[in-house]
């Protein structure tokens, strides 16, 4: 039974591209500043002003878990995440290649793969993201905000149409 249903919700439209999430992620996990150690990465198309933070989606049917020949990846229901057992990991990087989001990374300096562990329940990227482009929400509430926004737009459009009809 899944005990923790909270996951990272990434609303890329809100991202300002500052990469503070990358900075704090690396400092939190590896005690150094280096974005190639970050579990979350802001992918950018600067020429168009598009910024998209990408991190592990903690997939239910995770390709990394399925693909791992050493069975080093598994689901931890207590923390609601997919995690790596470094005692089993053989460093084959299969998970890196099968991850559909490019959210698994191999750190050359340490010769090991890394992925988001949700900071054991207190994700630092969320804590530092002032604009809430990254938030930590219950899976059942994932669509809540978008749904409310869409409903508000519908309501406003309906009202406008009503006014036009009456006029």
């Amino acid at each position: 039974m899944q005990k923790n249903n909270k996951i990272l919700k990434i609303d890329y439209e809100k991202c300002t591209g500052c990469r503070l999430c990358e900075l704090v992620c690396a400092v939190k996990h590896d005690r150094v500043s280096n974005p190639i150690r970050s579990r979350i990465r802001v992918i950018k198309w600067e020429s168009e002003g598009i910024y998209v933070p990408v991190s592990c989606q903690q997939c239910e049917d995770a390709p990394c878990v399925l693909g791992c020949p050493a069975k080093a990846l598994s689901r931890n229901d207590d923390l609601g995440r997919v995690e790596i057992d470094y005692n089993k990991c053989i460093g084959c990087r299969t998970c890196v290649s099968v991850c559909p989001f490019g959210a698994m990374h191999f750190v050359d300096a340490d010769r090991k793969v890394i992925k988001c562990d949700l900071c054991d329940g207190d994700p630092q990227c969320v804590r530092f993201c002032d604009v809430e482009a990254v938030s930590f929400v219950e899976t059942k509430d994932l669509g809540l905000e978008k749904g409310r926004e869409a409903a508000r737009r519908l309501q406003a459009a309906g009202k406008k149409a009503g006014t036009l009809l009456e006029a």
Binding site: E13, K14, C15, T16, G17, C18, R19, L20, L23, V24, V27, K28, D30, R31, V32, S33, N34, P35, I36, R37, K44, E46, S47, E48, G49, Y51, D108, A109, Q124, R127, F128, D130, V131
Partner: protein, 646 residues
């Protein structure tokens, strides 16, 4: 133990590259960034060096805190002897370049010589390569950056580049990174052009160790909360720096039609709220963007809504652009401001200097000092939007007599134009002023007159002087980290106590420029933003170095003194209108005609103004001529400079 970010000496003539560590004792004295650059500039140039000669050195640096777990450690500093002023050339920019340079293993680059043919530097993980720039020469600032990424096959490369204006040696060409992050002032792009250096590209993947990671992380959170909770941040994070316009153009602190008026009336179309609407319409409600590790997110993403470049993507515009292309030339259309902003960003020219030069030329044209023959038939009048846009392109390509003349900067242009054209040029030390009008605010007037790089609002401006803060609040801010019990006044119209505020801000801004963090993270627009006390902790948690708040202050004072020594060596004389700490006569002679009832009729009282300069010199330990007294140099440990220790 030195930090693992080094200094590289690069000779573009010979191709020789040497790398050295930066000793901690030098760090203690100059911290890094701008302060250490000033030390290096004073030590590595000879008196009277021609700015465009191979012997001038170009310094590119990241601040001490670059890429550490502190807030907004984004700033890149660039220094050289200025081709615009012949004095200190110095410019500071945001974006993502400085942290990348730090991750690549370097904090300071000292570049001399001149490459035989166009080149660019590629700096990656401790390595420096000089590469052929034949594929990027001639390209715009953004095209150059994308082409470098393609050539190096790495989308994460961050580059500091010049555009076509740097190549044609426009004396106020800037250096740029990203879409609009610019080191605009004092013509550092012209220096790169003179060295045949098109770009400096960086890509770093080395670790930057954090001395106390938990503490650094927690203190960063606290620091950010202090800033993000402020009103000024919330406004700035929504409207960007243009937000300042709401106040300054309401009370009459914006110069319009060059310097004829102190308010840009009926300018609703270029108000920040209008610009915000355009950004919302073209990029959606969440259109603000930030520099590295910064939650202020003060720059808008937008597409040009109309005009010849409709649909092009750009960022900003900054407050400066509203004045440079709106108020000063009296072109009050958003389309014009955004078109001009796009052009200078692509050409790589300083937005401020470009707008100010053209506005000055417009006034000269209307006065008959400039003729139609000299403008090649262009009706260069205030409010002629098309002429403004055309003139920007002419300056970049040095097209026509006037394009070529204006591209050389204010003082050379005034000499070429002749008559009394110089009287209308609102400059100090050869550099034009922002579109701010300081006639109603003596403290701000003192700031622009005495700023080390020429007329400038980012060197010592006590902007909070306009907030009328209670005296006890001012005292809390301004008597830390060194005691001060002299006069301080909440009244912006008086002359008493202002020299101390200017002196304090000068050291505050030098400190952030040494640390490599943004001025929007200190007492610039937000009186309750962090300062010296907070930085001592940030430095310690991140680097392990021990600085007291007073140590940071002392290093900042030292940095400012060495900038002064450089300027004096290169010809600064106190009352010289071209090379001194003196304002254009218009500040003293022409009263404000617009704005709040408090502001109309005001001008600067010259006697009191000179007295303020005397007082500022005393705070700085300078004699009546503005030269550091021997005891000042001794106290600051600068009596042996240049000491050639690095």
């Amino acid at each position: 133990m030195a930090l693992n970010r080094k200094i590289a000496y690069i000779d573009l003539t010979t191709g020789d590259i040497q790398v050295k560590p930066i000793p901690i004792e030098i760090r203690k004295r100059f911290i890094g960034g701008r302060g250490l650059d000033a030390y290096l500039l004073y030590n590595h140039t000879e008196k009277g060096v021609d700015p465009l000669s191979p012997d001038n050195v170009l310094l590119i640096s990241a601040g001490l805190l670059a890429a550490t777990c502190a807030s907004a450690t984004t700033r890149t500093h660039v220094m050289a002897k200025s081709p615009l002023t012949g004095l200190l050339g110095s410019t500071n920019m945001g974006g993502f370049f400085a942290p990348e340079l730090a991750w690549a293993g370097f904090h300071h680059l000292v570049i001399r010589g001149k490459a035989e043919k166009p080149c660019y530097l590629f700096i990656h993980d401790g390595e420096i390569e000089i590469r052929d720039a034949k594929n990027i020469w001639g390209r715009s600032t953004t095209e150059t950056q994308w082409a470098i990424r393609e050539e190096l096959n790495d989308p994460e490369v961050k580059s500091l580049v010049i555009g076509p204006a740097g190549e044609t040696l426009v004396r106020f060409a800037n250096v740029m990174t990203g879409i609009k992050d610019s080191g605009g002032r004092t013509g550092m792009g012209c220096i790169m052009g003179s060295k045949n250096l098109k770009a400096v590209a960086a890509r770093g993947t080395t670790d930057i160790s954090i001395a106390y990671p938990e503490e650094a992380l927690e203190f960063n959170k606290r620091f950010i909360d202090q800033i993000a909770s402020s009103k000024v941040n919330q406004t700035q994070g929504t409207l960007g720096t243009p937000f300042i316009w709401g106040a300054t153009n309401s009370w009459g602190g914006v110069r319009a039609r060059n310097f004829q008026y102190n308010q840009c009336e009926y300018a609703d179309d270029i108000e920040p709220e209008r610009i915000d609407e355009i950004a919302t319409e073209t990029m959606g409600p969440h259109h603000m963007a930030g520099c590295f590790g910064c939650q202020v997110h003060c720059r808008a993403r937008y597409k040009l809504p109309s005009g010849p470049y409709a649909g092009k993507y750009d960022e900003g515009p900054e407050y400066t652009a509203l004045g440079a292309f709106g108020a000063m030339p009296d072109c009050r259309n958003a389309e014009t401001v955004l078109t001009c902003n796009y052009l200078v960003n692509q050409y790589g020219m300083d937005v401020l200097e470009t707008g100010a030069m053209i506005s000055w030329a417009m006034e000269l044209f209307e006065l008959g000092i400039l003729t139609s023959e000299q403008t090649d038939g262009l009706e260069l009048r205030f409010g002629n939007d098309e002429a403004l846009i055309e003139m920007i392109s002419r300056i970049c390509s040095r097209k026509g007599w006037l394009g070529d003349t204006l591209a050389d900067g204010g003082i050379p242009a005034s000499e070429k134009i002749g008559k009394n054209s110089f009287d209308y040029l609102v400059q100090v030390k050869g550099m034009n002023n922002l579109h701010s009008d300081e006639r109603g605010t003596p403290a701000l007037a003192l700031n622009v007159a005495t700023a080390s790089r020429g007329s400038d609002h980012l060197r010592s401006r006590p902007a909070i002087d306009l907030y009328h803060l209670p005296e006890q609040v001012l005292r809390k801010i301004y008597s830390n980290p060194v005691p001060y019990d002299g006069p301080l006044s909440s009244d912006h119209t008086v002359y008493e106590g202002k020299p101390w505020q200017v002196f304090w801000q000068e050291n505050c801004y030098m400190a952030v420029d040494c640390l490599g963090i943004c001025k929007y993270h200190t007492v610039f627009l937000g009186p309750t933003h962090p300062n010296f006390e907070d930085w001592a902790k940030v430095i310690h948690y991140n680097t392990g170095l021990e600085f007291t708040p007073k140590d940071i202050w002392d290093a900042a004072v030292r940095g400012n003194t060495i900038e002064r020594l450089f300027n004096l060596r290169e010809g600064l004389t106190r009352n010289d209108l071209q090379k001194g700490d003196m304002l254009n006569h218009r500040y003293f002679d022409e009263p404000c005609l617009r704005g709040a009832p408090d502001v109309v009729g005001r001008k600067i009282d010259k006697d009191k103004f000179i007295q303020m300069i005397d007082e500022l010199y005393e705070h700085k330990g300078l004699d009546k001529d503005g030269v550091p007294k021997p005891e000042t140099l001794k106290k600051q440990g600068l009596e042996g400079e240049p000491s050639h220790r690095l």
